[in-house]
Amino acid sequence: MNAPQSSNDKVVHVYDDIREEDNQLPNWWLFILFATIVFSFGYWFVFHTTKKLPNPPEVYAADVDALKKARAAANPMSDEALADLAKDPAAVTAGKEVFASTCASCHGQQAQGLVGPNLTDKFWIHSNKPVELAKAVDLGFPDKGMPPWGPVLGPDKVRKVTAYVLSIQNTNVAGKEPQGEPVE
C-alpha cells in the first residue's frame, strides 16, 4: 500500500509505525484558536472585572424571582383579595364547577357534608378565614382525610373554589351534624 506521503519532512516522532508530523494547520482553524483567546479577554473583562453583564446564576436567580412575583400577582392570597373574588360571579361559578367535580364526593353536592364536614353551617374544625380556607384546600389535612388539592388543581382553581366556599357560608344547608367550634 502506498500511503500518501506528506510534503512536510518535519517528523516529530515515529511510534509503532505511526508518524507524528508537524504540518501546517488550515488558517481558518488557527483563526478560531486566536479568536477564542481574544474573546476570553473580552468575556473576562465584561463578566468578571467590570461585571457589566450578569453571570448565568444571577440571571437564573432574577428569572426565578420574576416568576415568583408574577405568580403571586396572578394569584393574590390575602383575606381581602379572596373576599373580593367571592363577590365575582364568574369566579364563583367556576369555583362551583371545581367543587362539584372535586369536593362534592366528600362534602356533598350542596356542601352539606358527607364524609367531610358541612361547609354551610357556622361550625368550623379549622379556621374559616379566607387565607386559611385556601390553605386547607391547597395543602389539605392528610391525617384527617382531606387530601392536598393544590398539586391537582393549581393555584387558580384553588382560589376559585375557595371563593365559592366563601360565597355559600352560613347558608345552613341541612346536612351533616355540626363539627368543630361555632364561628360568629
Partner: protein, 465 residues
C-alpha cells in the same frame, strides 16, 4: 516514487484555503446519487406537511414534550426508546461502514445531500463548468463578476432560508410556523433567532466551509478509520492494472516498456469534491462519493479499455486476495443492529395508551388510626398518552367492608396531559386481622382498555386481633 501529496487537498502550503471547483461528472453512480438526493430532500421537506392520523408525519414538539412520529404519539416518558432508535442507527452505520466504507458520507449525509444535490448545481447553473468557475475566481472584481456573485449568494441564502424554516417546521408544525411568521419576529424572538442562526450557519457552511466540515470537523469521518478493515469495500484505484501510468501512445514502438491502463488524465482528481488523488490509495478525506469512479469509467470507455480502473475493492482484493464480506466484525455489527431493532419494535408494540400509577402522597402518614378505623390515603397519577382527549373511570374495591372515597371518579384528560386523583380508603380495625389488598381499576373509555392495580392496605401491627 510519485510526487508527494499535499497535506490537505483543499489547503495551500501556507495554510490558506484552496477553493475546489470539482468538474461535472456523468455516469451511473452520479445518476443514482441524484435520485437518492432527490428522495431524501423530498422526505425532509414533506415530512412536516404529510399528515398521518391527523398529525404531521414528523413533529418534534420539544417545548410541550410531545412527539408525533408516523402516527404515533410520544411524550417525554417515552424518551428511553430514543436509546434503542439511536443504537439501531449506530449499529446500522457501523455495519455499513465495515462492509462498504463511507457510503453514508457519499450518499445520505445531509452535508453531501444538500451540497451536491442543491448548492453545487445552483453554482454550476450560475457560474458555469469548472473551467469557467476557475477563471472567474481568478478574475479581478468587475461588474459582471459582482453581479454573478450577488445572484449566487442570494440564491444560496434563499435556499438556506427554506431549509432552516423546514427544520423549524419539524419542531412547531407548518401551521404554527406560518402563524409565527405572520405575527412577526418580535412575538416569537426565540424561534426567529434559532431559525435565523440556522440560516446563517447553513449559508456559511454551503457557501464557504463545504468539504472542510467532512475533512476536518466531522467526528464520523475520523471514526471510520477504525471501522474499516482490510476487507471493507471502498472506492479504490486498481494500481496493479493502472501502473506504470503514462500518456496514451497510439502505436507504441515494439521496444517501449509495457504501460498501465492509467493515462494520467487527472479526471479523477478534478472531479473530487475533497481534492484528493484516489490513486494514492485509501485516504481519510475520501467520502465515497464515487465521482472518480464515474469519471474514470468514462475515460476508459473512450480509450476502449474495460471499466473499473477506479472501482470498488477492499485492501485485500487490491493485494490479490479474494473478497470477504462475512467477517466476525460484520456479523457482530449486524447482530447488534438486529437486536436493537427488535428491542425497539417490541417496545413500540407494548406501548400503553395511558399510564396509571399509585403513590402514597407526600406529607401524609401511610396510615391514620382514627378511633377504631384505619385510613390510607393514596394518590393515583394518570397520564393520557392517546393522541386525543380521553375519559377515565376510577374505582377502588376492597375484599372487606370499606369506605372508599375517590376524589374524582371520572377524569377527562386532554392528549398528553396528566392528573393526580386523591383516594382515601377507611377500614374498620376488626377486618384488619389479615393483610388486605385493594384493587384499583382504571378504565379508559376511548381505547376501552382496563387496567387493574393491587394496593396493599397498610395498618399498624397487631391491630384487630
Amino acid at each position: 516514487m510519485q510526487a508527494p501529496a499535499p497535506i490537505l487537498g483543499s489547503m495551500k502550503p501556507d495554510g490558506s484555503r484552496l477553493m475546489l471547483h470539482p468538474a461535472d461528472v456523468k455516469g451511473r453512480w452520479m445518476r443514482a446519487r441524484r435520485i437518492v438526493f432527490g428522495a431524501l430532500i423530498a422526505f425532509y421537506v414533506l415530512a412536516p406537511f404529510i399528515p398521518v392520523g391527523g398529525r404531521p408525519m414528523i413533529q418534534l414538539d420539544v417545548q410541550h414534550r410531545r412527539f408525533y412520529l408516523f402516527g404515533g404519539t410520544f411524550n417525554a416518558q417515552d424518551f428511553w426508546m430514543v436509546l434503542l432508535f439511536a443504537l439501531s442507527l449506530a449499529f446500522g452505520l457501523l455495519l455499513v461502514t465495515a462492509w462498504r466504507g463511507r457510503v453514508w458520507c457519499g450518499w445520505a449525509c445531509p452535508q453531501t445531500v444538500f451540497l451536491e444535490g442543491v448548492y453545487r448545481p445552483i453554482e454550476r447553473f450560475i457560474d458555469g463548468p469548472r473551467e469557467k468557475r476557475l477563471k472567474l475566481a481568478q478574475e479581478p472584481l468587475s461588474a459582471g463578476k459582482l453581479a454573478r456573485r450577488v445572484v449566487k449568494y442570494a440564491a444560496f441564502f434563499l435556499v438556506s432560508v427554506l431549509i432552516a424554516h423546514t427544520a423549524t417546521a419539524l419542531f412547531v408544525s407548518p401551521k404554527e410556523l406560518w402563524l409565527m411568521i405572520e405575527e412577526g419576529p418580535r412575538a416569537h424572538l426565540e424561534a426567529f433567532l434559532l431559525t435565523t442562526g440556522f440560516t446563517a450557519i447553513l449559508t456559511f457552511n454551503f457557501t464557504w466551509f463545504r468539504e472542510q466540515f467532512c475533512v476536518v470537523l466531522c467526528p464520523y469521518g475520523r471514526l471510520q478509520s477504525v471501522l474499516h478493515d482490510k476487507d471493507s469495500i471502498t472506492v479504490a484505484y486498481r494500481e496493479a492494472r493502472g501502473e506504470p501510468r503514462g500518456k496514451l501512445v497510439k502505436n507504441p514502438a515494439p521496444d517501449t516498456p509495457k504501460q498501465g491502463d492509467c493515462i494520467d488524465c487527472k479526471r479523477c482528481v478534478v472531479v473530487c469534491p475533497t481534492g484528493i488523488d484516489i490513486r494514492n490509495g485509501l485516504q481519510m478525506e475520501c467520502l465515497a462519493c464515487d465521482q472518480c469512479v464515474d469519471a474514470c469509467d468514462e475515460v476508459m470507455d473512450r480509450i476502449g479499455k474495460p471499466r473499473g480502473l477506479i472501482g470498488f475493492a477492499s485492501q485485500n482484493e487490491l493485494a490479490g486476495q479474494g473478497r470477504k464480506v462475512l467477517r466476525p466484525r460484520v456479523m457482530v455489527y449486524a447482530a447488534l443492529m438486529v437486536l436493537s431493532m427488535v428491542a425497539l419494535t417490541v417496545s413500540l408494540a407494548v406501548r400503553t395508551p395511558f399510564e396509571a400509577n399509585v403513590f402514597r402522597p407526600r406529607g401524609a402518614n401511610p396510615f391514620i388510626v382514627d378511633g377504631a378505623t384505619v385510613r390510607n390515603p393514596f394518590e393515583v397519577h394518570l397520564f393520557n398518552k392517546n393522541p386525543e382527549a380521553a375519559r377515565f373511570h376510577l374505582s377502588v374495591t376492597a375484599p372487606v367492608p370499606a369506605q372508599v372515597v375517590v376524589g374524582t371518579p371520572e377524569v377527562e384528560l386532554q392528549s398528553l396531559t396528566d392528573a393526580r386523583v386523591p383516594v382515601s380508603v377507611s377500614i374498620d380495625a376488626q377486618h384488619l386481622g389479615k393483610p388486605v389488598d385493594l384493587v384499583l381499576e382504571v378504565r379508559d373509555d376511548t381505547s376501552g382498555e382496563v387496567r387493574q392495580k393491587t394496593i396493599r392496605f397498610l395498618a399498624p401491627l397487631g391491630l384487630g386481633r
